[in-house]
Symmetry: C3
Subunit: 188 residues, 3 copies
């Protein structure tokens, strides 16, 4: 009798908990511990009319008051830059690249440097195969900025997460190096 | 004996239900009730050669038959616009902004107004900190259009959802105001 | 007594398993079987100065060494193309379109053809209503390339997945046809 009551209580608990988890599963509080963490650097050398050989990026759109060889005034507002940048494991531009960062950024504010990024990390090495896709706002005067990992393929199949960008170095308007701390919270 | 049988049946049920939820969990029918709902307005003033001071957006790409001061013919097909627009809680351009809408849109159809959007809502107030990232098609002659919330950071960490756009007002080719109803279905 | 012990063991198992599934649920190994599979073709005819009537795409950004009528040298590096392409169920350009592929691509590498894509499939037929949003790198000399499905609306509400692109045909720099195998792994 006592054990029957216990079993019934257990059954009730089970049904209630199953029911609640089924209907709310997509918005329950989820653990904020990453399932995968990765750190990379990438290096952007913007074409300025004199560095065609080394340049990894070029201005391809500009506001009517700008041009496509020199970044525009007003914090480069409106400049659209396409890039194919080497990814390295440390902060040395001359380290062997482990992949390419490919995509674009657009400077999108007149009174401070800020950009919007859409790009991928593309890997094809023994370490990593596949791609990680990113999008988000980059208020680049902040020490750290978070953008979204919106998807992935290959080793990073269906990934989602957050990437923290840090400007690791820059030289005038021609070179900058970003450190990217990738934290994936959805892994398949 | 009766309670033993009950317990066994319960155990069986438990194992079966656990197994099935593990293998199908990622494509089971999910609840379509949002875990968070937000409503904002944002205001876009396109640079037209005469409004440099007030403009919040500028044409930075255009087809060969267009230019970067006046939106092109054929429903602006090919015009790429970068923006940094104030976000307000009501439909008044002069209300105190609660954040900035930053990114780009491209008009992408010749026979009707349609655009493709990639942008972020960037918040840094006592109300909200962090960003919401959006992408999708905006067939802007429709009364309502749905785009995707593809990720978020800060208060909107790992968010996913759908945003419904409505054109709340427009004045010629210079000003428009969008109402955005954000419904998040994944919250962390 | 025996049944009580069994019930207790069951209760313990239940609590342990519930606890573990709650904290790790977002990064457990998930099934890689798609919940929905779709195959489409889309057709891109780039404006070249002579085909205004048939063109479905146009160059709207280019590096300083390029122009907006002819794709630039160095593997079109820096060319930004906006498109509104018909989607068909088979590989025939003249089949009745079932939707439109709308968005942009940017050629982003100097020594081989590679692009970055941001676009949507927009449907409004008896078959499908709603949109699927895509982003990712397209190393287009590879036989197959995977990009991400980053969201969806309508019939494709909250979708996520992977799309495999294949170049089904191309004619010089003016026409290409892509086959897209869409596999959704998150369906609502």
């Amino acid at each position: 009798m006592g054990s029957k009551r216990l079993t019934s209580a257990l059954l009730l608990f089970l049904l209630v908990s199953t029911g609640s988890s089924a209907s709310h599963s997509n918005w329950r509080k989820k653990a904020r511990e990453p399932c995968k963490t990765l750190v990379f650097y990438f290096h952007d050398i913007i074409y300025n009319g004199h560095n065609a050989k080394n340049a990894t990026a070029a201005i391809v759109g500009a506001p009517s008051w700008g041009n496509r060889t020199i970044l525009a005034g007003q914090d480069h507002f409106g400049d659209l830059v396409v890039f194919d940048d080497p990814i390295t494991l440390d902060n040395n531009l001359h380290s062997t690249p482990v992949g390419r960062a490919q995509g674009f950024y657009i400077y999108d504010k007149k009174d401070i440097f800020t950009a919007w990024l859409g790009f991928s990390f593309v890997f094809n090495s023994t370490e990593h195969k596949g791609s990680i896709n990113f999008a988000g706002a980059d208020p680049l005067m902040n020490k750290t900025r978070d953008i979204s990992v919106i998807g992935g393929t290959g080793d990073f199949f269906m990934s989602r997460g957050v990437a923290t960008l840090m400007t690791d170095a820059f030289e005038g308007d021609v070179y900058f190096r970003l450190r990217v701390d990738i934290k994936l919270y959805e892994c398949w």
